[in-house]
C-alpha cells in the first residue's frame, strides 16, 4: 500500500465527515492564519518603517541644547554658523552639516491667511534630510552669501498657493517680504504623516537672520560619512562644540539609527508575543485533531478489524490513521495560509501598513502544522493499529 493511496483513503474519510473535519481543522487554520497575519504585518510594517527612516535621512544626526532647569542655556552657549563650519572642516566622520532655525510666517492667498513654517538653513540641509525636488533647485551657498530672498517650498504649500508645476519663479509675500520660489519639493509619501501635511518653506539662514533680527540657531543637523561613523561624528561634534564654547554637558545628540533600533525592537517583541499566542492556538488545534482522531478510531473499530482480517498489518493501519491526521493538519495549514493572507491584506489596508509574506514564514507555518499533525496523530494511530482484531470485529 503506497503513500498516495493512503492519502486518497484519508481524504475520502475526511470528505465523508465534512463538518467534523472542518471543525477539527479550525484550530490549525486559526493558528496558521494568525502566524501568517502577524508576520505579514510585522515584516511589512518593519520594512515600511525602515524605508521611512531611510527617507528621513540615512546616517542623519541632530545636535540640540541639553535641557537643564538649574543651568539654562545662555547667549554664550548658542550655536554659531562658525561652529557648523568648524565641525564640518575638522571631523573626518562628518560629511554634511547645516544649522537650522525655525520660524513662522503667514502668506495671503486667495483672500485668506495661510500659516507657514519657515526652516532657515543652508545648502547642506537637502543632503542631510534627503530632500527630493520636483522642480527647480535647493538653496545654495550664493543664496546664503548674498542673503537672497529666495525660498524652496514643499508640495503641500505649492498646492495651496498655485498648482505645483507653476510655482517656480513666482513671488510670494511672507509676512510682507517678497520671496522668489526657486524650488518645489516632491510630495512625501509617509505612513507617519496622517491628515494634512504641514506647509513648509526653506530659506537661507542669513536672510532669516537679516530680517528677523535674531542670530538664534535652534539646532545643528549633520550627516555622517557612513552608518558606522554616525557615533564618531556625534562625538566629534559634541567635543568641538564644548571646546569652542568652553563648556561642558550643554549639548546632546540624537540619531535615526537609535530610532530604527527601538522600532525594530518593539516590533520584534510584538511579533514574538503574538507568535507565541499563535503557537498556543496551533497546540490547541493539535489537541483537537487528537480528539477527533480518537473518536474516528473508536467509530471505525470494526473497519480496523475487517482490514486486519483481510491482511492489513499494524503498520498499514497506523500509517492510514497517521496520514489522515497529516492530511487534516496539512489541509488546515493550506486553508490557514489563504485565510491569513486575506486577513493580513484587509488589516493592512485598514491601518495602511504594507504586508509582506516571506517564504520562510510559509515554510515555518507548514512545518509546524504538519508537525502538530504527526505528534497528535501518533497516539490515536497507535491505538488503532494495536487493536485486537477479534474485539474489533465484534464491535458494534
Amino acid at each position: 500500500m503506497n503513500f498516495f493511496e493512503s492519502v486518497i483513503i484519508a481524504w475520502e474519510s475526511i470528505v465523508a465527515n465534512k463538518m467534523r473535519s472542518l471543525l477539527t481543522m479550525l484550530g490549525i487554520i486559526i493558528g496558521v492564519a494568525s502566524v501568517i497575519t502577524v508576520s505579514a504585518l510585522g515584516q511589512g510594517g518593519k520594512a515600511a518603517i525602515n524605508k521611512e527612516l531611510d527617507a528621513f535621512g540615512a546616517n542623519r544626526f541632530e545636535i540640540y541644547y541639553k535641557y537643564n532647569p538649574d543651568k539654562p542655556i545662555t547667549e554664550a552657549d548658542a550655536f554659531t554658523l562658525q561652529d557648523v563650519r568648524t565641525i564640518k572642516e575638522i571631523s573626518p566622520a562628518v560629511e554634511y552639516m547645516a544649522p537650522v532655525s525655525w520660524g513662522s510666517g503667514s502668506i495671503r492667498s486667495k483672500g485668506k491667511e495661510i500659516g507657514v513654517e519657515i526652516v532657515a538653513t543652508t545648502a547642506d540641509y537637502a543632503k542631510i534630510a534627503n530632500l527630493k525636488l520636483d522642480a527647480g533647485r535647493f538653496l545654495n551657498s550664493e543664496d546664503d552669501n548674498a542673503k537672497r530672498y529666495v525660498a524652496v517650498i514643499n508640495e503641500s504649500l505649492a498646492q495651496e498657493l498655485f498648482s505645483s508645476s507653476t510655482a517656480l519663479g513666482k513671488k510670494i509675500m511672507v509676512s510682507n517680504r517678497p520671496f522668489k520660489v526657486i524650488g518645489v519639493l516632491a510630495k512625501e509619501e509617509s505612513i507617519f504623516s496622517m491628515g494634512q501635511a504641514s506647509k513648509l518653506m526653506y530659506i537661507p539662514i542669513s536672510t532669516y537672520f537679516t530680517y528677523s533680527g535674531t542670530n538664534w540657531i535652534n539646532n545643528i543637523e549633520g550627516k555622517a560619512v557612513s552608518q558606522a561613523e554616525v557615533d564618531k561624528a556625534i562625538q566629534h561634534s559634541l567635543s568641538i562644540l564644548h571646546r569652542r564654547h568652553r563648556s561642558e554637558d550643554r549639548y546632546d545628540a540624537w540619531n535615526s539609527q537609535k530610532e530604527i533600533d527601538s522600532v525594530n525592537q518593539v516590533l520584534g517583541i510584538v511579533t514574538v508575543v503574538i507568535s507565541a499566542i499563535a503557537g498556543i492556538s496551533l497546540l490547541v488545534g493539535g489537541i483537537g485533531i487528537m480528539n477527533i482522531m480518537l473518536v474516528s478510531v473508536t467509530e471505525r473499530t470494526r473497519e480496523i478489524g475487517i482490514r486486519k482480517a483481510l491482511g492489513a498489518h499494524e503498520i498499514n493501519i497506523m500509517v492510514q490513521f497517521l496520514i489522515e491526521a497529516l492530511v487534516l493538519s496539512f489541509s488546515g495549514g493550506i486553508l490557514g495560509l489563504f485565510f491569513g493572507f486575506g486577513v493580513s491584506k484587509i488589516i493592512g489596508w485598514f491601518i495602511k501598513v504594507p504586508t509582506f509574506i516571506s517564504w520562510q514564514m510559509i515554510a515555518l507555518a507548514f512545518t509546524f502544522s504538519t508537525g502538530v499533525g504527526i505528534c497528535f496523530g501518533m497516539y490515536p494511530a497507535r491505538k488503532a493499529a494495536y487493536q485486537d482484531p477479534i474485539e474489533a470485529l465484534r464491535y458494534e
Binding site: 493511496e5 465523508a16 475487517i306 482490514r307 482480517a309 483481510l310 491482511g311 492489513a312 477479534i390
Partner: protein, 227 residues
C-alpha cells in the same frame, strides 16, 4: 492442510477463567469441505478465529500447510490472512463507505498489487459472482445475498487455498442462502478447502464432513450426507 493438536483456549475475565476450547484435535485435508456445528458457546467461533490467525491458542499446536502458526510474527500472520485464507462473515463485514469494487480491492491493497490490475481483477471477481453490473453500488444499496456475494468475491480475490465461513447464510433468506451455498459447492469442486460454521442442517449437508462441538470439546463427527 489444517492440523490442530491438543488445542486449548482459555479466556480470562477478571478472576474467572473460561475454557472456550478444551483439548481439541482436528485434521482437515486439502480440498475438504468441513462444516462445524454446535450450540452457541460451544467454542466454534473461537476455533474459527484461531484457524483464521486472528487469535492464538493458550496451548496446543496449529499447523497450516505443515507450518506451526505459533512461530509466526505479526507480519507473517498478516501475510497468511491476506494470501492463504479468505474470510466470509455472517454479517458480511463490508466497509459501508466504499462501493462493491473498492471493497473487493482491499485484500489486494495489502498484497501490494498496483491499482490498475486491482481494478481489473476485482471487476472479474464481481462478474464471477454475478454482480458485474453492480460494482459501483455501496453495501447499503445491495440486498443481503448480493452483499454476501461481494464478501465472497473479496475473500477469493487473492486466490486463497482455504475459505473460512462463519455462518455465511445466517442473515440471509433461504433462497439467497441456497445461492450462496451453490457458490461454496462450486469452489469445493474446484479444489478450495472450506471450513464453514453453521447451525442449520440444510447448510451443513453441503459439507463432506460435519464436526460437532459442545462446551469447547469436539463431541462427534459425521458425513454430511447422513444429516
Amino acid at each position: 492442510m489444517i492440523v490442530v493438536e491438543n488445542m486449548t483456549k482459555i479466556y480470562k475475565s477478571g478472576e474467572n477463567e473460561v475454557a472456550a476450547l478444551k483439548d481439541v484435535n482436528l485434521h482437515i485435508k486439502a480440498g475438504e469441505f468441513v462444516a462445524i456445528m454446535g450450540p452457541s458457546g460451544s467454542g466454534k467461533s473461537t476455533l474459527m478465529n484461531i484457524l483464521g490467525c486472528l487469535d492464538k491458542p493458550t496451548s496446543g499446536e496449529y499447523y497450516l500447510e505443515g507450518k506451526s502458526i505459533s512461530q509466526l510474527d505479526s507480519r507473517q500472520l498478516a501475510y497468511v490472512r491476506n494470501k492463504k485464507i479468505g474470510f466470509v462473515f455472517q454479517n458480511f463485514n463490508l466497509l459501508p463507505r466504499m462501493n462493491a469494487l473498492r471493497n473487493v480491492e482491499i485484500p489486494m491493497i495489502y498484497a501490494g498489487i498496483p491499482p490498475g490490475e486491482r481494478r481489473k481483477r476485482a471487476m472479474e471477481a464481481l462478474k464471477s459472482v454475478g454482480l458485474g453490473d453492480r460494482w459501483h453500488h455501496k453495501p447499503n444499496e445491495l440486498s443481503g445475498g448480493q452483499r454476501q456475494r461481494v464478501a465472497i468475491a473479496r475473500a477469493l480475490i487473492n486466490s486463497p487455498r482455504i475459505i473460512l465461513a462463519d455462518e455465511p447464510t445466517g442473515n440471509l433468506d433461504s433462497k439467497s442462502g441456497a445461492e450462496i451455498m451453490e457458490i461454496f459447492a462450486e469452489l469445493h469442486r474446484k479444489g478450495t478447502t472450506i471450513v464453514l460454521v453453521t447451525h442449520e442442517d440444510e447448510i451443513a449437508r453441503y459439507a463432506q464432513r460435519v464436526v460437532f462441538f459442545r462446551d469447547g470439546r469436539k463431541v462427534d463427527e459425521k458425513s454430511g450426507e447422513l444429516l
